[in-house]
C-alpha cells in the first residue's frame, strides 16, 4: 500500500473518461479552439505564402507553430481545468480521505491532460490535411521530441496554476487561461527568438517552448534536427516540472494546515 498505485491513478482517469463519455459538448469543446486556430492560420499562410520568401520555403511554418502551441496550451489546461472540476464538485475532501496520494493525483491529472491533448489537437491535425494539404507528421521523428517537451512544460504551468488556486481560492481561476498567453510572445511560436529585443532574449531562452519552436524552424527551414535545442528544453522542463510538483505539494500541505480542503468549492 505504500507505493504508487496505478489502479488509483487509473480510477481518477476513469472518472474523467466517464465525464467525457457523458457529454459530447466536452469533446467538441476540446477540439473546437485548436481547429478554429488551425483554420485561421491556414488561411493566413495561404495568403502570405505568395508574399513571403520564408513562407515560400516552408509553407507549414505557421500551421506547425499553431498546432504545436496548442499542444502546450491544451496540456496546461488539461491539468489545471480538470483540477478545478474537483474543486467545483466539492470532491477534493473525498479524494484526500481516500487512499489516493497527492503524487498520484498529480500523475492522474497528467494522464488526463495527455488524453485531452491528444483528442483536442489530434482532431485539428487530422483536419489540416483535407483543408490545406498540411501534414504535421511531415516533421518526422523530431515531432515526438517537440510533443514531449511541450507536454511537460504545459504540465508544469498547469500544476503551478492549480497550486495557486488551492492556495488562494477560486478567485485565481482566471489565471489558468491567462498565464500561458503571457508567455506566448516570448516563445517564438511564429518568429525566431532573434526577433525579440536583445534584453528580452535571455528570458525567452529560459522557456522550454522557445527551444521547441526554434527546433521546429530548424527542421522546416534547414531540414536538420537540433539535438541541442531538444536537450536544453528537456533539461529546463525537468527543473520546472520538479519545481511545479514541489509547489503543488506545498499547496496541499498549506490546505491541510488551514482546512481549505474541506471548504474548497464553497
Amino acid at each position: 500500500m505504500n507505493g504508487l498505485s496505478p489502479q488509483r491513478i487509473g480510477a481518477l482517469a476513469l472518472r474523467y473518461l466517464y465525464l467525457l463519455r457523458r457529454s459530447w459538448i466536452r469533446i467538441v469543446e476540446l477540439a473546437y479552439w485548436p481547429t478554429v486556430q488551425m483554420i485561421l492560420w491556414g488561411f493566413i499562410t495561404r495568403y502570405l505564402s505568395g508574399h513571403s520568401d520564408v513562407l515560400g520555403q516552408a509553407a507549414g511554418l505557421l500551421l506547425s507553430g499553431v498546432l504545436l502551441w496548442d499542444i502546450l496550451f491544451r496540456s496546461q489546461l488539461g491539468v489545471s481545468v480538470v483540477f478545478f472540476e474537483e474543486l467545483h464538485a466539492r470532491n477534493l475532501a473525498q479524494l484526500f480521505v481516500s487512499p489516493l496520494r497527492p503524487i498520484e493525483l498529480i500523475l492522474a491529472l497528467m494522464s488526463i491532460s495527455l488524453i485531452r491533448t491528444l483528442v483536442g489537437v489530434g482532431v485539428a491535425v487530422a483536419l489540416a490535411l483535407p483543408f490545406y494539404g498540411f501534414n504535421l507528421f511531415a516533421l518526422g521523428p523530431p515531432l515526438a521530441g517537440f510533443f514531449l517537451n511541450l507536454l511537460l512544460m504545459g504540465w508544469a504551468i498547469g500544476l503551478l496554476v492549480a497550486a495557486l488556486v488551492l492556495r488562494h481560492g477560486m478567485g485565481a481561476e482566471s489565471i489558468a487561461w491567462a498565464a500561458i498567453f503571457a508567455l506566448a510572445p516570448l516563445c517564438g511560436i511564429y518568429y525566431p527568438i532573434a526577433t525579440l529585443p536583445g534584453w528580452l532574449q535571455p528570458l525567452a531562452w529560459i522557456l522550454p517552448a522557445s527551444h521547441v519552436f526554434e527546433g521546429m524552424r530548424a527542421v522546416l527551414l534547414d531540414h536538420t534536427f537540433r539535438l541541442d535545442y531538444f536537450l536544453y528544453a528537456l533539461l529546463l522542463n525537468t527543473g520546472y516540472l520538479g519545481l511545479a510538483i514541489s509547489v503543488f505539494l506545498a499547496a496541499v500541505r498549506h490546505a491541510r494546515e488551514y482546512g481549505s480542503l474541506l471548504q474548497s468549492g464553497e
Binding site: 500500500m1 505504500n2 498505485s5 489502479q7 488509483r8 487509473g10 480510477a11 481518477l12 476513469l14 472518472r15 466517464y18 465525464l19 457523458r22 457529454s23 472540476e85 474537483e86 464538485a89 466539492r90 470532491n91 475532501a93 473525498q94 479524494l95 484526500f96 480521505v97 481516500s98 487512499p99 489516493l100 496520494r101 500541505r253 491541510r256 494546515e257 488551514y258 482546512g259 480542503l261 474541506l262 468549492g265
Partner: protein, 250 residues
C-alpha cells in the same frame, strides 16, 4: 491483555491564529464501539474529525489510529477507514454507479460489481444507479454518500451527521444498516450528530465538546443519570448552555 484502542487522541490542539478550534482534547475509542462527538456549532467536532482523517494538520498533540501515527502515516490507515458527510459532495455529473465505481477502485475494492450490487440492495439505491448524482434529492445523496463510505468495508467509519436530510423512516433504516454493519464486522464508528435519539440508540460512548474542549464524556445512560435528566436531548442543552453537573469531566 486488553486490546489497545483503535483511536487514541492525546492533548490534541488546533489553533487558527488566536482562535482555538480544538484545545487540548484527549480520548480513546475501543474497537467495535460507536462513539458520538457532540456539541453545538463551532464546538470543534468537524475539526476533530478532519484531523483524524488527515484533512487537517494538528497544531500539537498526538493521534494514533489502528496503531499508526496520524497524520504522519495516515496513508497506511486510510484504506481501512472511510468517511461520509452531507457537506462533502461527489461529482454531480457522474451517475451514482460511476461515482461508486471510481471510489471502489480508489479503495482497491475487489469484485466491484458485486459490491455495488450488495450496497444497492442494502441502502435501497439501486433504482437510481444510472441517474446523475447531481439530480438526486438530499436524502438520496446522503444514502449514496453512505454507500461510498461502506465500499471498502472500513474498520473505522467516521460519519458527520449520517442521517441529516433523511425522512424518519429512511433514517431509521440507515441506523439499522449501520448497527448491522458494525455487529457483522466489528467496525468502530465515530459520528458527529445533532440527533440525540440517534445518539442514544447507536452510541456506547459520548464525547461532549464545547469551544474546543471536552466538557463531559461517558455512556449516554451514565450522562443522563449524572445530569439528572430524562434523555440526551436535555443533557445536550445543559452542556451547550454551560450548566454544570456535579461530576463534569475537565
Amino acid at each position: 491483555m486488553a486490546e489497545p484502542p483503535v483511536i487514541q487522541v492525546e492533548n490534541l490542539r488546533k489553533y487558527y491564529g488566536s482562535v482555538r478550534a480544538v484545545d487540548g482534547i484527549s480520548f480513546d475509542i475501543a474497537r467495535g464501539t460507536t462513539c458520538a462527538l457532540l456539541g453545538g456549532n463551532g464546538a470543534g467536532k468537524t475539526t476533530t474529525i478532519a484531523m483524524l482523517l488527515g484533512l487537517l494538520l494538528p497544531s500539537s498533540g498526538r493521534i494514533h489510529i489502528l496503531g499508526e501515527e496520524v497524520p504522519r502515516h495516515h496513508h497506511r490507515v486510510l484504506p481501512r477507514m472511510n468517511f461520509s458527510s452531507p457537506y462533502v459532495d461527489l461529482p454531480q455529473r457522474l451517475t451514482v454507479a460511476e461515482n461508486l465505481t471510481v471510489y471502489a477502485r480508489l479503495y482497491g475494492v475487489p469484485r466491484v460489481r458485486e459490491r455495488l450490487a450488495a450496497l444497492g440492495r442494502d441502502l435501497d439505491i439501486d433504482a437510481f444507479f444510472q441517474r446523475p448524482y447531481g439530480s438526486l434529492s438530499a436524502g438520496q445523496k446522503t444514502r449514496v454518500a453512505l454507500a461510498k463510505a461502506l465500499l471498502n468495508e472500513p474498520e473505522i467509519l467516521l460519519l458527520d451527521e449520517p442521517t441529516a436530510s433523511l425522512d424518519p423512516d429512511t433514517a431509521d433504516r440507515m441506523r439499522g444498516i449501520l448497527t448491522d454493519y458494525q455487529r457483522r464486522g466489528g467496525a468502530t464508528l465515530l459520528l458527529a450528530s445533532h440527533n440525540m435519539s440517534e445518539v442514544e440508540r447507536l452510541c456506547d460512548q459520548v464525547i461532549m465538546l464545547r469551544t474546543g474542549c471536552i466538557v463531559a464524556s461517558g455512556a449516554p445512560r451514565e450522562l443522563i443519570r449524572r445530569y439528572g435528566r430524562k434523555d440526551m436531548e436535555e443533557v445536550f442543552l445543559d452542556i451547550a448552555r454551560g450548566i454544570q453537573s456535579g461530576e463534569v469531566i475537565e
